[in-house]
């Protein structure tokens, strides 16, 4: 028998247990799945505020005189357009064949310093890849940090109630901007839910107190299960499920992040992207009857077959929704069918997202 791998604990592990979380293994970590009802947690984020432990994600500082040039080669989006310190962008990192190795957020900290946030499951592979392909830059993972995602229409006010001293520095932050506070805390106005809010990286020892103070300020603790339904409604892909090394950004709904403006920028995967056919695309599906679409379920369209990459029952819309990889000729508005347990159920092909800022997107 293979021994069970030992799952890592985040600095908030005891806090989750104290709140009665159901824990689950995710990318090598013990993470909270929910604290009783994932649907109530979902609604809390859409209507008020919720907080997620995302300490499993990997923050990496990129340091050294060659940082900018290294990231311009490693990433399909162009960090050169980060004109103000603190500005962030979302990017794919590609293989030589143009397949997605990961998706990440990169922030320019000023000078030759950048900060990346990588997916937990791919972090080790990413680091090895970046160090191998850009040995002139230094990549330093910040394993000393915890990360919280505070999300929802009331998220910002909740942070200022819990940490009044942080208000001055964070109130002026625009979307996709970040700032460093004293004491090694890093606050960015980003998220993975389709709602406003902050992501906060802070020293591990300070995380439980912030968590408790946010809950005392009325924020709902939320687990990975709600995080998944929220990001799906927001049309945000999950690496490993909606995208992997076999697909290009154009086939995963994130072609808009591939920056071809500077024709002299030879980023990894660029040449392959130019010659690979774009046979597929990622679109949304809304099923007409109650069911739960799940990954790998088959989809039939007038232009050929496709596949569900992620599916769920949308708590906000009250209908089944899915992300699906479909033939390139399919257009939003057309009908499709999804095979759910042997039955072909009708669906409408739609653009993404399904929900933004608490409201249905039509």
């Amino acid at each position: 028998m293979t021994p069970e791998p030992v799952l890592r604990k985040t600095p908030l592990f005891e806090a989750h247990r104290a709140r009665g979380a159901r824990m689950t293994g995710f990318a090598g970590w013990q993470m909270p799945l929910h604290y009783g009802s994932q649907i109530e947690e979902h609604h809390a984020v859409r209507r008020s505020a919720g907080v997620f432990d995302v300490s499993h994600m990997c923050a990496v500082e990129v340091i050294g005189a060659a940082s900018r040039a290294a990231l311009r080669r490693l990433l399909a989006n162009d960090v050169a357009k980060l004109a103000v310190p603190g500005k962030s962008l979302y990017s794919c990192m590609l293989s030589d064949e143009g397949g997605m190795l990961d998706d990440l957020v990169a922030t320019w900290l000023g000078g030759e310093r950048y900060r990346l946030v990588l997916n937990a499951a791919t972090a080790e592979r990413d680091l090895a890849w970046m160090r191998g392909r850009a040995p002139e830059a230094r990549f330093e993972p910040r394993h000393d940090c915890a990360m919280l995602a505070l999300q929802g229409p009331c998220a910002r006010e909740a942070l200022w109630r819990a940490r009044p001293a942080w208000r001055a520095a964070t109130e002026a932050l625009g979307r996709f901007f970040a700032t460093e506070l004293e004491g090694g805390t890093f606050v960015s106005r980003t998220g993975y839910t389709g709602e406003d809010g902050f992501e906060i990286a802070l020293p591990a020892a300070e995380a439980p107190a912030l968590w408790d103070d946010l809950l005392a300020a009325g924020v709902a603790p939320c687990g990975l299960a709600a995080r998944d339904t929220l990001r799906l409604e927001a049309g945000l892909i999950l690496y490993g499920q909606d995208a992997d090394e076999r697909v290009t950004p154009y086939e995963a709904g994130v072609g808009w992040t591939v920056d071809l403006a500077d024709s002299s920028r030879d980023f990894i995967g660029r040449a392959a992207l130019a010659r690979r056919p774009r046979g597929r695309q990622l679109l949304g599906l809304r099923l007409f009857e109650r069911a739960v679409p799940r990954s790998h379920m088959k989809v039939r369209t007038a232009h050929g077959e496709g596949e569900v990459t992620s599916g769920t029952f949308s708590p906000t819309l009250g209908v089944p929704i899915a992300l699906a990889r479909l033939p390139a000729a399919v257009s939003p508005g057309q009908e499709a069918e999804v095979e759910v347990r042997g039955r072909w159920l009708g669906a409408r092909v739609v653009t993404l997202p399904f929900v933004r800022h608490g409201k249905e997107v039509k």
């Binding site: 159901r22 799945l33 929910h34 009802s37 994932q38 649907i39 299960a225 998944d228 339904t229 109650r290 069911a291 739960v292 799940r294 769920t312 029952f313 347990r341």
Partner: protein
Amino acid sequence: MNVPEDLRYTATHEWVREEGDLLLVGITDPAQEMLGDLVFVGDVQVGRRIGAGEVAAVVESVKAAADVYAPAAGEIVAFNEELGSRPELVNRSPYEAWIFKLKPAQPPQGLLDAAAYRATVDAKKEAL
């Protein structure tokens, strides 16, 4: 763990209540807790003749789907239509929210009492 004394159970987490010559069948409190918030209850074919242990219904939470088995051979005579649009009732009150009614061909065999069902749940928890 909420496991009422007046019901009978299967090792596959169904509860069974006798009502006249019919059996009302639902899923237990430990089962709904394991599954989490339900978003689908269905795939019940009223009028179907079914064998003991065959799949009579499907319940799905956001994360997982689970089959609900017939606790005895017989005919499915009713589906609780309210659960079709309000599956969350199974989470809220699992022992009120019957899923289907079965007219058994013979009295059901081998069902567990509350103590025996609790013991099987505890044994599974220890194995996890």
